[in-house]
Amino acid sequence: MSERESSLQPLVQRFEPYQVERLRQAFPILAQRIYGKPLVYLDSAATSQKPQAVIDAMSRFFLEENANVHRGVHYLSLRATEAYEQTRAKVQRFLNAAHAEEIVFVRGTTEAVNLVAQTYGKVHVHAGDEVLISAMEHHSNIVPWQMLCEQSGARLRVAPIDDAGELQLDELERLIGPRTKLLAISHVSNVLGTVNPIQSIVELAHAQGAPVLVDGAQAAPHLQLDVRALGCDFYALSGHKMYGPTGIGALYGRRELLEAMPPYQGGGDMILSVSFDKTLYNKPPYRFEAGTPNMVGAIGLGAAIDFLGGLDADALAAHEQAVLAYAQEALATVPGLRLIGTARDKIGVLSFVLDGIHPHDIGTILDREGIAIRTGHHCAQPLMQRYGLAATARASLGCYSNEQDIDALLAGLAKVQEVFR
């Protein structure tokens, strides 16, 4: 371990056993008051808050290490390159990928999906072929495939879900066939909280020779990930959902697939040599990283992975499940409230509707109580249509969420009902 790396270590705090109150202190923003009331942040599925360690790592990069990566021979450039590539290795370990070269830095999950659609998809998906997704996808895992289908003449198929918000595996199996050239599915639904059985889905797809892309944006902050155990071919995540900064994410792609894929964007860093007659492309992952990357974002993502690594993963999962169970029980006592998304295997996303009260009105009234929730269609309009709803209110949990947050939500909902009595 280099001297520099060891100097990072004090930033990695350990929280064992799981002490949510101590953990909350690592997130400076949570100490804020909103309209004079303590902030109750229940919108982590939209974006998570950032621990001090992430904020510090990013400012330290600007203060001490900033220079362009993969370019200069000077000291700072080497140091920045090292820090950037160390993060790649951290993402590799976080996902348990076999090789660091299987990790491509992107802006976020959305860019990762677009990258696969416009590189792998362009080569392998043709007229008459099919791309299969599910009814619970975020727009970012729908629209890039629609665009690909429009370009290629392929057909987009959609595997249905049941009323609880669980994928109908038998229907999915029926839809996978020799025409299926790719299956794209979320690991965890951003609206329902449903955890999809990725391993079984991959088996079904691979049996028909179809590779699988997993949208892991909502899974990365909550589940222990192992792309080799999942067996998936691509896995996408966003830094900002997992306590890191915005504008950085990662795409995992199996090495054989990445090596055979054409570039995504052209520019610096993705080339071996350029002449006006011919350009030779660099090898993965650099082939897919044109231009100066979001270096400080990558540093922040690395710090976020260190932060998550400093938590006892089992204790974190147990804590989040306990708060989820508490919240489900609490919300069940609210008259006229209906939970949307009651899958057996789910994480802390609580979408709900209240009889006769529009989610936006709920959101505004809760806001004045210092409670931040998301209201609307959550970038999943087809899923909303599946439930016959225009919008829901959604409270979502993070590692710092506690039972007091839920108590505040419940008190806030009583105020909402008072206004509309």
Binding site: Y35, G356, I357, H358, P359, H360, D361, T364, I365, R368, T375, G376, H377, Q381, M384, A390, A391, K415, E418, V419, F420
Partner: protein, 151 residues
């Protein structure tokens, strides 16, 4: 409850939000327009019958929050019987009330029943909810075939 909230969710707003007036279709409307708020998925369809420059009947249907439903409901009550130019002038005044708040040039009382919309001004994120119906009215009167979007 905070004063701002009480100002926003006045009884009239809650009442019209729950039981919007003129929430129906019009037979053979002369003008129609659709409005969308892509941020929240609100949508409404406004229909009116213009006879000799006068809005003889106006109605709407749609889905949205209490603010957007109440605003549309109050709109239909306010402009029914008005001349087209009067309705457009009212649009301008309501738009100013929503975006700039009541002031000496435009005291809320000058808008009669619509004064209840004054509270929206303090909630910038909700201005679009309240103004959707009014933009849709303007588009309907202009005969603009494209749906109105608040984005």
């Amino acid at each position: 409850m905070s004063d701002a909230l009480r100002e926003l969710y006045q009884e009239v707003i809650v009442d019209h939000g729950k039981r919007p007036r003129n929430f129906r279709r019009i037979e053979a409307p002369s003008h129609t327009a659709q409005g969308f708020n892509p941020l929240c998925g609100d949508q409404l369809r406004l229909e009116l019958k213009l006879v000799d420059g006068v809005i003889e009947d106006i109605a709407f249907q749609g889905e949205g929050c209490a603010i957007s439903q109440a605003s549309a409901s109050l709109l239909t009550l306010a402009v029914k019987g008005m001349r087209q130019e009067q309705a457009l002038e009212l649009f301008a005044r309501v738009h100013m009330l929503l975006t700039e708040g009541p002031n000496s040039q435009l005291p809320a009382e000058a808008l009669g029943k619509l004064a209840v919309l004054a509270g929206v001004w303090e909630f910038p994120l909700r201005v679009k909810c309240a103004s959707l119906a009014w933009h849709t009215l303007r588009s309907a009167l202009a005969g603009d075939p494209a749906p109105v979007s608040t984005e």
